[in-house]
């Protein structure tokens, strides 16, 4: 009896509480949200203002198989919404004036800065993107050679959304290892480091086909864009920071009558700082393994001397790529390799004195590049197809 009464009271009490809080404040049905898959930040024409472009997915269009005859004439599966404003946050909010659904960012896959905005400095924009819990740190950071909004309008064939297309291009980078892939977390880590310079993927829109293409790496000094690395230099950078997954190295055959392509299958690297006679010396050790992927000369490359020479050429090619990157980095005076952090970790006492003058040190650091590369296999054939 007693217990029964207690239970009744408990239930009534709970009901009161439940009714009291039946606000469901954060409840949002799926069909009240606009999922943003890409965000572009441009400079607006008016000085001091910025233009945001958000790519919103239209779930209905993306799923429905297009009903015959060329896809219903222009009903794209996405909607690019643009807005001009003073800060990122206020502009995002202002977008709700145009969109009937609330913009929802957790599924945002790329954040694109236009070149001019990147040159001005990105820290002020990044702040909102890391402070707001809706943004995820796994979004890719991309710098557009031109306008960010154009990149979000590019044509795509296999992917349905331009933003997703870019994200997939970045994910597919490992085939060539010629473009860098930097997500928000990595960008932030570099941005917060005292010496390491941030980098981001660089994207260009081809004038004719209106398709997006990754073309290298954007290099920042502090938070400002200072220059670009081309594909070779980018791979040089990736060799050093141990980001090479795969890729093709083209060398000339030992007999000089054609080219051979070598596929990288495994690579690793180490940065070893040393302080000798008050001078910083850095050794970059790269170890690589590859296949012989194809040869365009008639020489029998599987003979030991040829094979060895091919290995040597591979090492040389790698070294030249690294040196190219190094040269560009010195030119820009941007420590994209993280040499500073390496010194910091090894010589933490001395570091305090060097820290502030790193900019003066960096271009003059002596760097030794040691490459040790191996060729392991030659595929299905050992000899080129030619009459013996």
């Amino acid at each position: 009896m007693q217990k029964f009464r207690k239970n009744t009271v408990t239930i009534i009490f709970l009901l009161i509480v439940m009714l009291g809080i039946t606000g469901c404040w954060n409840r949002r049905e799926l069909d009240t949200l606009a999922f943003v898959s890409g965000l572009g930040i441009d400079k607006a024409r008016e000085p001091g203002k910025l233009q945001l472009t958000a790519q919103i997915i239209k779930p209905g269009e993306i799923k429905a198989p297009e009903a015959g005859g060329g896809g219903m004439g222009g009903s794209k599966p996405y909607w690019n919404i643009s807005q001009i404003g003073n800060t990122v946050f206020s502009t995002v909010r202002a977008m709700t004036l145009k969109s009937n659904r609330k913009l929802f960012f957790p599924h945002n896959e790329v954040i694109i800065f236009s070149q001019d905005i990147a040159r001005e400095g990105v820290r002020k924009y990044i702040d909102f993107l890391i402070r707001d819990p809706e943004f995820r740190r796994l979004a890719w950071i991309v710098v557009a050679k031109d306008k960010a909004s154009e990149v979000l309008e590019t044509k795509t064939e296999l992917a349905k959304l331009p933003a997703r297309n870019i994200a997939e291009l970045i994910k597919a980078r490992s085939a060539t290892s010629e473009v860098s892939a930097v997500n928000m977390q990595e960008f932030l880590t570099r941005l917060m480091s005292k010496t390491t310079a941030p980098i981001a993927s660089l994207i260009e829109v081809s004038a004719k086909e209106k398709t997006a293409q990754l073309t290298g790496t954007a290099v920042f000094k502090d938070d400002k864009l200072v220059g670009f690395l081309n594909k070779t230099e980018t791979r040089g950078l990736l060799w050093v920071i141990n980001e090479i997954k795969s890729g093709i190295i083209t060398v000339s055959c030992p007999d000089g009558k054609g080219k051979a392509s070598l596929e990288i299958i495994q690579a690793s690297s180490k940065i070893k700082p040393e302080i000798k006679d008050n001078d910083i010396h850095i050794t970059v050790e790269v170890k690589a393994e590859g296949h012989l992927g194809s040869q365009m000369c008639l020489e029998d490359l599987t003979q030991i001397p040829a094979w060895n020479s091919l290995e040597k050429r591979q090492s040389e090619a790698i070294r030249s790529e690294v040196l190219a990157a190094l040269k560009k980095a010195r030119q820009l005076n941007a420590d994209i390799f993280g040499f500073g952090e390496a010194v910091h970790k090894k010589y933490s006492r001395l570091w305090k004195d060097i820290e502030d003058q790193w900019d003066e040190f960096f271009p003059n650091i002596e760097v030794t590049v040691k490459v040790e590369s191996k060729l392991r296999r030659s595929g299905l054939t050992v000899k080129p197809p030619r009459p013996e």
Binding site: Q2, R5, K6, V9, T10, I12, F13, I16, V17, G20
Partner: protein
């Protein structure tokens, strides 16, 4: 909001008091009512928007005072 508050407190009173009365736990009942009334007054003041002195601020002042004595 106030009605809700009152309802909640009446609910709690109904939840606890009958059992105490039945077992003749008068001392416990007094303590219970004392705490409940205190809680009710504080909650009511908060709902009404009256500023209640914050005990944590007091602790802060106290700790800072001792720290200044130390140094």
């Amino acid at each position: 909001m106030i009605i809700l508050l009152i309802a909640a407190f009446i609910g709690i009173a109904l939840f606890e008091a009958p059992g105490l009365v039945q077992r003749k736990y008068w001392r416990e009942l007094t303590a219970f009512l004392l705490f409940l009334v205190a809680a009710f007054i504080l909650a009511l003041l908060q709902v009404l928007g009256v500023k209640i002195p914050n005990p944590v601020k007091g602790i802060e002042v106290l700790v800072k005072y001792f720290l200044s004595l130390m140094s």
